[in-house]
């Protein structure tokens, strides 16, 4: 038999799971949202607006508004890196190095990244 369609489907599913972990574990996004907005964790709202999330209330304008994340960060790794240590891209940034200074764990950063891709 020709294996084409099922293999194609498999590859498609794997690709989806890879770029949208949301589908695999539906509660990752709310968890990430909580971590991002928790003052003791990401505290992202101290500096960033998140105009597409009605629950994210802030007047902050220190960093750019977090929107269209998929267009701005097509590579997941690039976004994780921005959260891990923003200084890698811009040594003068005021954005805290969340991973490097152990403000957030790797897992917490991944959850926030999942959430950011919904913005």
């Amino acid at each position: 038999m020709h294996p084409g369609p099922s293999l194609g489907l498999f590859i498609f599913a794997a690709a989806m799971a890879n770029c949208l972990p949301v589908l695999a574990e539906p509660d990752r996004v709310p968890k990430g949202a909580r971590l991002a907005q928790d003052v003791a964790k990401g505290n992202c709202l101290a500096c960033h607006a998140m105009p597409t999330d009605a629950k994210a209330v802030t007047s902050a304008n220190i960093g750019p508004p977090l929107i269209s994340i998929r267009a701005r960060f097509p590579e997941r790794e690039q976004l994780r890196r921005q959260l891990w240590d923003a200084g890698l891209t811009n040594p003068d940034t005021v954005m805290p190095p969340f991973g490097k200074h152990q403000i957030l764990t790797t897992e917490e950063i991944d959850l926030i990244v999942d959430y950011l891709y919904t913005l």
Binding site: S59, N61, H101, Q102
Partner: protein, 282 residues
């Protein structure tokens, strides 16, 4: 503590003041620093008059400023100032008062603080001279963070200098060394969040941190203590400590040499601005 980031400053200046051809602050004189800060803020807030900087974040919000003005008509902390006055006027056991320790009975002196004491090679703050006065008169000294004594006394004593122009001197190698130490702390990234004072009050002055407009450094030392929420007395060093906590750094103690030198650096930047004690803050 993270490494000193003098390079950070140089780069910052290169970016913000590229056109102005100003040398790196790392090797600048205090007067050059002051000019650089003022030029930078002037670029950010072209409409603001320099005198307005004593109002800090309020200079950037007409609403907050109107609320401030109305609260200052009948300050809810007037009782504390009055108690400070009683303390100031009550004679020591030897019959003298605080006024006897100062030129001019303590009028128009606060704008000369902090100053460099070459005999002891250290920066002397207003609070330290209050304690010296107590000691010289055989009285017990106050704790720097005690609101009921040092707090209210300085809240009153500084009002005797209202309107005085800040005139802090930094001259000679000893004084410059202390000033440079304060400046280094201001530009050093510390704490888990990796902020420097400059991150918020220089680079991002005028921007909004969640709900708070960030005040410029020029003008920050002219009006202490402040009464937060109208009745909660906060000294300048308490505010420094609070900002350091926000940086997730371990704050230096009130009255420590580190904070005294920081205050020396910051106060110099406010030279020429009018003193006004004490004021309301959110």
């Amino acid at each position: 503590m993270a490494l000193p980031r003098i390079k950070f400053l140089t780069q910052l200046l290169a970016v913000t003041l590229a056109a102005a051809c100003i040398g790196a602050l790392a090797h600048a004189s205090p007067e050059q620093d002051r000019a650089t800060f003022i030029a930078l803020y002037h670029d950010k807030f072209p409409a603001a008059a320099l005198e307005d900087y004593v109002n800090g974040a309020l200079m950037l919000s007409a609403d907050a400023r109107a609320q401030f003005d109305s609260i200052m008509e009948f300050p809810p902390f007037q009782g504390d100032i009055d108690q400070g006055r009683t303390l100031w006027e009550t004679p020591f056991r030897n019959g003298k008062t605080f006024a006897s320790c100062y030129a001019n009975g303590g009028r128009n002196i606060a704008g000369n603080y902090p100053y460099y004491d070459s005999g002891n090679d250290r920066v002397v703050t207003f609070e330290m001279d209050i304690n010296r006065c107590l000691r010289d008169n055989g009285e017990a000294q106050y704790k720097f963070s005690d609101k009921a004594t040092m707090g209210i006394l300085t809240a009153y004593a500084r009002t005797l200098s209202d309107g005085m122009r800040v005139d802090v001197r930094v001259a000679g190698t000893g004084a410059i060394a202390k000033y440079e130490q304060g400046k280094k702390l201001y530009f050093t990234r510390i704490g888990q969040y990796n902020f420097a004072c400059a991150s918020c009050h220089m680079v991002n002055a005028g921007k909004i941190l969640r709900t708070e407009i960030l005040s410029p450094t020029v003008g920050q030392t002219t009006h202490w203590p402040v009464f937060r929420g109208g009745d909660n007395l906060n000294t300048l060093h308490m505010r420094y400590r609070r900002c350091m906590e926000q940086m997730r750094a371990s704050p230096f103690p009130a009255g420590s040499e580190e904070l005294n030198n920081l205050e020396y650096f910051q106060s110099y930047l406010s030279n020429g601005l009018p003193m006004r004690a004490s004021v309301y803050r959110k």
